[in-house]
Each structure stands twice: as structure tokens, then as C-alpha cells.
Point group: C2
Chain length 385, copies 2
């Protein structure tokens, strides 16, 4: 028997409702018609599905977007982007970096803390300090944390070598302190998923994310699904042979991606040439000002990066690659060489690659963590209402 008591409390938790919420979140203000086409649903279904979201104030109807065409103007749907704030945190061996974001993982402010020791209690305390510095946890809908290592169930860090952790319930411990839902994810998975929803991969069903910096990160999205395997936390993208004349990596591979692309490797190469220690930013600066040794090192790095891009495109069968990470500043110096090297290792008739650079550097990781929190929050919204 049908209840008439609350006819507005329709589904909100079905698979279509979840898809709708996701589509609106990702594709900004968008009319019901466009949504119907995108999701493969009829206009009637869109009306039905969007009503509960509107009733609960999760969606707003945008201004009537009449762009000169005849006919009734579309009333685009959008999420109430100001309705909720999230905090994303990247944990490294040296410190905690956090950002405050809106519902679309746009950075509103940032904060950082150094990390003296690696005990769980200290890391949790420092994360909480960053959360407070960013104005939380009051008014915050969720906190996302990303970390280099294996994470299961978006909660437990099963293995984080750089912190010496095994099987730490980081989400649980942090929730006790901050009092809002916490999601934990592998850093590369978080970044990849955030690029898919909010970043350079928006609307692209298949693409790869390649980050360079302290390490080499590699994430893959195929047919709108982030690929996560048991090995996701291991950094498998760091073992690709790129240059047989390059330096050695810790595992003894000559010229593999870690040996060629990480900041420490680049600095070490130039350090040998100059006979003194240099930082990554200084390497870029020297190269930009014409220092021959620096240009040579950066050039070789760029060519290796181009080769890596080509291998990824060939093997993962895709044509869009997002570059990110703290070390991506070299793109501005040698983008032509990177592109040329990538093209040289592809078939001449192959599709031109689309290389997108996310130059938000360190904060890209933290925004990725926020993105994970946002996605989890969306799941809670649509399932519990």
C-alpha cells in the first residue's frame, strides 16, 4: 500500500540517484536534459530523481541560463557548493600538509606542520593541529588523509614504510580526536580519483596520472573506474626502464623511472656535476638561466619523462595523461622535449597525446585527499539521506 504521508521522500539511495549526484557534482551547473543524455535516462526520470535532492537542499536550481536560443530556458541543477567544507591532508615523512576545500575540492586555504617523529600518536596530533589551523572541525563535513603506502577499506593503513607503520587504524584514531568522518587512502589513489572527479580527468573515461617529486606516482583510470590493486601502494610506476645510460636506482636498475625522475635523483645528478649540494628548485632555476649542466640534467629528465608517457599511453591504451606532483615544475622548461620524446616512442600514426599538467604541486595531494572525503560524504548523503 502506498503511503501518501511523505511523497517527497523518494529514493535518494538508488544507483541512479548516486549517479545523478555524482554527475551534478562533477559537471557543475547542468540542465536536466543534459543530465538525461549523459546518464542515459529519460527527462521524466531526471525530474523524479532530482526532486528529493532539491527537497533536502542538497541541490539548487541555478539561474535561468537562457543563452539566446528560443524555447523555455533550462533550469540547471547544481550542488550547493557552499553548503559544506572539507579538509584534505597529505602525510609525508617530513610533515603534514593540509588544505581546506569546498565541495568541489577547490583549495580555500592551506596549512602545514613539520613531523618530528613518526609515532601514531604524534602524527594524529599533528594532523588534528592542522585541522584546527584550517578552522575545523566545526563546519567541516569530512576529513580525508592520504599517505604513501597500502590502505584498506579507506580506513586502515596496513603498510607505510616511510613511517614504519603496519596495520594502523588511522581513520579510527583520528575520528576520535576530530569528531567528524575521516577517510584514509593511498596518496596516488586519492590523487587519481580526485583528478577523475574534480580535476584534469573530468569527463575523460580513461586516463593515467603520473606524478614526479619525492617519488614517482602512477595511477590509472579505465572506463571511469579507478584501478586499485593489492599492489597499488607499492609504486609500481617507479620501475619502468627509461634510459640505459642513466643513473642507478636503489634496486640497482639503471635509468629506471625512479632513477631518472625523482627530485633527489635530479639533484644528485647536478650535485655531482657542480661539486655541491643543490635543491630541486635551484636545479630548475639554474636550467632556466642557462646553466649548461643543469640544462643537460633537466633535458635528460624531460626525455625520460616523455618516454615514460609514451610507454604508459602504449601499454595502458589511452591518450590522456595528467602530470602532477611537486616536481612537475620542469614542465615549464622542457615541455617541448617531453612531447617530442613521447611522440618518438609512439607509432607515427597514433592519436596525438593529450598531456594535462596539474601544477598545484604539493597541494594536489592534499586536494586529492579532500576529494576522497567528498566522495565518501556523497555516499553517506545518498545512502542515509
Amino acid at each position: 500500500m502506498k503511503m501518501s504521508r511523505d511523497s517527497g521522500a523518494a529514493t535518494l539511495s538508488s544507483s541512479s540517484a548516486r549517479d545523478l549526484a555524482r554527475a551534478v557534482l562533477i559537471h557543475g551547473p547542468i540542465s536536466r536534459g543534459d543530465l538525461g543524455r549523459r546518464l542515459g535516462l529519460s527527462p521524466a526520470s531526471l525530474t523524479r530523481l532530482s526532486k528529493p535532492f532539491l527537497d533536502r537542499g542538497l541541490f539548487v536550481e541555478g539561474s535561468e541560463d537562457h543563452d539566446g536560443t528560443v524555447g523555455r530556458p533550462a533550469r540547471p541543477l547544481d550542488v550547493r557548493v557552499d553548503a559544506s567544507r572539507f579538509i584534505g591532508v597529505k602525510v609525508t615523512g617530513e610533515g603534514i600538509f593540509g588544505v581546506l576545500t569546498d565541495l568541489r575540492a577547490n583549495e580555500l586555504s592551506a596549512a602545514a606542520r613539520p613531523l618530528g617523529e613518526h609515532s601514531v600518536a604524534h602524527v594524529v596530533a599533528q594532523i588534528a593541529a592542522v585541522v584546527h589551523e584550517l578552522g575545523g572541525p566545526e563546519g567541516i563535513s569530512g576529513v580525508g588523509v592520504c599517505i604513501g603506502g597500502n590502505v584498506t577499506g579507506s580506513r586502515i593503513v596496513t603498510r607505510a614504510p616511510f613511517l614504519g607503520w603496519r596495520d594502523v587504524d588511522l581513520a579510527g584514531e583520528l575520528e576520535v580526536v576530530v569528531g567528524v568522518p575521516v577517510s584514509v587512502e593511498n596518496d596516488v589513489v586519492a590523487l587519481t580519483s580526485a583528478e577523475q572527479w574534480f580535476g584534469a580527468g573530468r569527463g575523460t573515461p580513461t586516463f593515467a596520472v603520473l606524478t614526479i617529486g619525492v617519488g614517482v606516482g602512477y595511477g590509472l583510470v579505465v572506463n571511469d573506474q579507478v584501478i586499485v590493486t593489492a599492489d597499488s601502494g607499492l609504486g609500481l610506476g617507479g620501475h619502468i626502464p627509461l634510459d640505459a645510460t642513466g643513473p642507478l636506482c636503489p634496486d640497482g636498475h639503471r635509468g629506471c623511472s625512479r632513477a631518472m625522475l625523482t627530485s633527489s635523483s635530479v639533484c644528485a645528478q647536478l650535485g655531482i656535476a657542480l661539486g655541491r649540494e643543490v635543491g630541486y628548485d635551484e636545479v630548475l632555476d639554474l636550467a632556466a638561466h642557462g646553466n649548461r649542466a643543469a640544462m643537460s640534467v633537466i633535458g635528460a629528465t624531460g626525455r625520460a619523462l616523455g618516454r615514460m608517457i609514451a610507454v604508459i599511453a602504449n601499454i595502458a591504451m589511452l591518450d590522456t595523461i595528467v602530470l602532477s606532483g611537486e616536481g612537475i615544475g620542469l614542465w615549464d622548461l622542457v615541455s617541448d622535449e617531453i612531447r617530442a620524446a613521447a611522440r618518438a616512442d609512439r607509432d607515427p600514426d597514433a592519436t596525438e597525446l593529450r598531456i594535462v599538467v596539474d601544477d598545484s604541486g604539493l597541494s594536489a595531494w592534499a586536494r586529492g585527499a579532500a576529494g576522497v572525503a567528498i566522495q565518501q560524504s556523497l555516499g553517506r548523503l545518498t545512502s542515509a539521506g
Copy 2:
């Protein structure tokens, strides 16, 4: 208003019905309960969905498979594998190779014809001759053709460099001659899809297919979907740098996968050493009998293959690789070196790779073509009834 005229003519064409047909075809005799678990459907749905297939004689109920356990024995469903025969054909620059198969792409008999010239008419005639030699087209439910090059819509060869073809409606021309439905597909896509349905990839959601022989073929299946892109026919897997000390490929890449792994390259390398021309089988034979030069060449080839496997596993994020092609005979000689090389280029903590060898050689391609015809035929069955 419901018609009672044909209450058994239930769906048969819904998405679930298609999934059911596929699952039964792939997983052999299987009970409704297992199917329900596999497809995520309730027992009630399985009864409903399987009824029309049983009514039309497309499925049979297997013998009651009571294996000692208590309770009512399961009545497993299976396709009528004897009900239909298919022919798969591989077209190369030198000849036509065809196989007769059952509904599961098992080879029943084989036939071959040389290909003197490459005109469309001649190729069509020779394919038709092979079909007749295999007992067709009477009693044949479909013919699949695979070919190295770009194919669209499972019908049109848009580009086949080794035949000098552009935009040839091979399916259409052949259907006129043989009178049964013809499907055309890129050879690597066909093989990959057949391995997924009927071969080594059965039940594995994500895996890669790597073939060596005249060329290097590479196919990818992620989350049960064969990855097909605009570049699928180009042989992108042939451009992976593997050995900086190796020979050159036609594009000038030193030690890339084509330069290292193709039969002609292997033969040429040993040919230089011995000062005479040798065939691929002879190279393997010499290596097996201890010829130092042959062992060296095969060893280097095996190590390159291992490195390629590692790159694929790392970049495509998978742990199962199917090796096939006419040149895979070297596996028997140097499997240990291949495995060792693959392991060396992976993270020490990474999942152990599952390397599966399909040693059916040339006929693997033709069975792949038959597999495509079978899949198309299944689509016709479930859509039209």
C-alpha cells in the same frame, strides 16, 4: 493488457538475459544457484531468465550432478554446444588459415590456403575456399575473420597496410559469397576477446595478451572489458624500449619490442652470427641443442620478453598475462629466464605474476576470429530470438 498467447516469450533480450547467456557459455555447465551468485541475481530471477532459453532449446539442463552432498541436486544449465559450428579465419600477407570450431571456440579441424596476390576479390575467394574446405557454409552459424589492421563496426577494414587495403567492406563481400553472417575484427582484439571468453582469461577480470611472431601483438582486458581504441590496429605494443644494446627496429628504435621479439628479428640476429639465413624453428632447434649463438640470441629475447611482461604488469596494473602467437615456442626453452627478468623489473613485494601460455600458435588467431563470430551470434540470439 497482457497477452496469454505466448507466456514463454519472456525477455531474452534484456541486459540480464545477455549476461546470463554469456555466463553459461563461458562457465560451462553451471547451476542456477552459482549463476545467481556470479551475476548478482536472486534464484528467482535465474529461473525467470533461463526459462526462455530452455524453451527455445538454446540451453539444456545437464545431468543431475549430485556429488555426494545432501539436499536436492543441482540441475546445471549449459549451452547446446553441438547445436552450432563456427569458422574462424586469420588473414596474413602470406595466406589464409581457418579453423572449424564448436560453440566454445574449440578447434575441430583446420585448413589453410596460400595468398598469391592481395586483391580483395582474391582474398575473398580464398577465404571462401577455406570455408568450403572446412565443410561450410552449410551447418555453420557464422564466420569470423581477423586481420592485422584497423577494423570498424566488426565489418569494414579501414586500413590494412600489409595487404594495401583501405576501407574494404570485407564482411559484406564475404557474406555475399558464403551466405552466413560474417564478423571481421582486428586480429589482436579478436584474440584478446577470445582469450577472455573461452581461453586463458576465463574468469579473470583484468589481464593482458601478448603475442610474438611476425609482429608483436598486445591486447588488454580491464574489469571484464576488452579495451579497444582508435589505435588498436596500430600495434602500439611494438614500441616499448626493452634493451638499449639490442638491434634497431624499422622506426630506428634501438632494442624496442619489435626489434627484440619478432621472429624475423630473432632470425636476423642469429643469421648474422652464423653467416647464413635461418628460420625461426631452426633457431629454437639450435638453441635447444646447445648452439651457443642461438642460446645467446634466445636468451636475450627471453630477457626482453620478461622485461616487457614486467612493464605491462606495472603500467596496466595487472597480474595475469597470456602469452600467445606463432613465436611463443621459445617459452619452453627460456621460461625461467623470462620469469626471472620479469621479476627483476618489478617491486620485490609485488604480487607474483601469473603467466599463462597459449601454445596453439597460429590457430590461436583463427580461434580468436571464431570467438568473435560466436559472440556476435550470441548477440543475434538474445536480441532477435
